[in-house]
C-alpha cells in the first residue's frame, strides 16, 4: 500500500515526464539533417571550387574581391560564374529536396507512433518557423535581384534560419536549440568578421561566388552534419529534452 507521499511523488513524476514528452517536437530528423548537410557541403564546396578566380576590378568598382567589401553591391565576379538568380534557384532546389526528404521521414515517424502527420507539434513548428523562413527567402530574393552579393544573401539565410529555429526553441529538444544558437552565432559572427577582415581573404576564395559557397558549406553543411552525428551517436533509447 502506497503512502500519500508516495502517491503524490508518483503522480508528480507522471506529470513531469508527460509534460516534457508532450512539449518536445523534433522538426528536423537526424537522417534528414545528415542528408541535407552532405548535400549543402557538396554544393557549397562545388560552387566555391568552380568559381572563377579573382580578376581585375570592374570599371567603376572599388574591388573585384568580394571579401574586401562583401556587402557592397558594386563588386562583380569575373565572367564564368553563376548568375545570382541561378545561385538562388540552386539553393532553393536544395531546400525543396531536403525538405521533402525530411517530410517523408517525419511522416514515417508519425505513422509509427500512430499520430497524424499534421500533429499539434507539427502545427506548432510550422507556425514558429514559417514567418522567419518566408521573410529570409523574400528579402534574399529582393537583395539578389537588386544586385546584392551572394555572400551576404547566404549569410541572411543563415541568420533567418537561426531565427526560425530559435522560434521553435520552447518545444525543441536540446540538440535543436544548440543548432539554433550555432547558426545564430555563425551568421552574425561571419557578418562582422567578413566586414572587418574580408579584405584579408586571398585567391579564389575571395570572389563572391566562392565566398557564398564556402559560407553555405560551413553553416548549412557542416553544422547540420555535426547536429546529425550528435543525435545518431547518442545511446539508443536516450530521450532528449
Amino acid at each position: 500500500m502506497m503512502t500519500d507521499q508516495e502517491v503524490a511523488t508518483d503522480h508528480l513524476r507522471i506529470i513531469r515526464s508527460l509534460m516534457e514528452r508532450a512539449t518536445v517536437y523534433r522538426a528536423i530528423s537526424a537522417p534528414a539533417a545528415l542528408f541535407g548537410g552532405i548535400i549543402a557541403l557538396v554544393t557549397g564546396v562545388g560552387m566555391a571550387l568552380r568559381a572563377p578566380g579573382p580578376g581585375e576590378p570592374a570599371a567603376g568598382s572599388e574591388s573585384a574581391v568580394a571579401g574586401a567589401n562583401f556587402l557592397a553591391p558594386d563588386h562583380l565576379d569575373p565572367p564564368g560564374g553563376l548568375e545570382p538568380m541561378v545561385f538562388f534557384l540552386v539553393w532553393v532546389g536544395v531546400l525543396i529536396l531536403v525538405g521533402l526528404f525530411n517530410a517523408v521521414l517525419l511522416w514515417r515517424g508519425s505513422q509509427a507512433r500512430g499520430e497524424e502527420f499534421f500533429s499539434s507539434g507539427m502545427k506548432l513548428a510550422l507556425r514558429a518557423t514559417g514567418p522567419p523562413m518566408l521573410a529570409g527567402g523574400l528579402i534574399s530574393f529582393l537583395l539578389l535581384e537588386a544586385g546584392g552579393s551572394r555572400a551576404s544573401c547566404a549569410l541572411l539565410w543563415v541568420v533567418f534560419y537561426s531565427l526560425a529555429l530559435i522560434g521553435a526553441r520552447s518545444f525543441a529538444p536540446r540538440s535543436m536549440r544548440w543548432l539554433a544558437w550555432m547558426f545564430f552565432s555563425a551568421g552574425l559572427g561571419l557578418f562582422v568578421l567578413l566586414r572587418v577582415f574580408g579584405g584579408c581573404l586571398g585567391g579564389k576564395f575571395s570572389t563572391d561566388q566562392a565566398l557564398a559557397g564556402l559560407i553555405m558549406a560551413l553553416t548549412f553543411g557542416a553544422l547540420h552534419v555535426v547536429y546529425a552525428l550528435i543525435i545518431l551517436c547518442r545511446p539508443k533509447g536516450a530521450e532528449e529534452i
Partner: protein, 100 residues
C-alpha cells in the same frame, strides 16, 4: 495544513491525470495525438475524456479533417484551475513528507 478535499477525485486517477497533463501543455489536442502519446485504447481514452467532460474540465469540438470527423479537446477554465489546485496539493503532500 493540507486541504485534502482539494485533491480532486476525478483527476486523481492516472489515466485522467495524464490526459489533464497533456491538455495543459497545448491549446488543444486531437484524439489521435492524445491516443498516440498515452498509448491508451480508443475505449479507455474516450471513457476518461467523457468523465472529464462531464465535470466540465474538458471541452470538445469536432471538425472535418480530410473529409473525416476529428475531435479536438481542450482544458476549460475550471479544468485549468482544478489542475493547478491539484498540483498545489500534490506538492504540499510531497514537501510535508520531506519535512517529517
Amino acid at each position: 495544513m493540507i486541504d485534502f478535499s482539494k485533491l480532486d477525485k476525478v483527476i486523481h486517477e492516472k489515466g485522467r491525470l495524464s490526459i489533464m497533463t497533456l491538455l495543459a501543455t497545448r491549446v488543444e489536442w486531437n484524439f489521435q495525438d492524445l491516443k498516440g502519446q498515452l498509448q491508451m485504447s480508443d475505449g479507455n481514452l474516450i471513457t476518461h475524456l467523457r468523465a472529464l467532460e462531464k465535470v466540465g474540465f474538458v471541452s470538445v469540438y469536432k471538425e472535418m479533417n480530410k473529409k473525416r470527423p476529428q475531435s479536438n479537446y481542450a482544458l476549460t477554465k475550471p479544468g485549468k484551475a482544478a489542475f493547478e489546485d491539484y498540483l498545489t496539493v500534490l506538492e504540499q503532500i510531497v514537501s510535508l513528507g520531506k519535512n517529517d
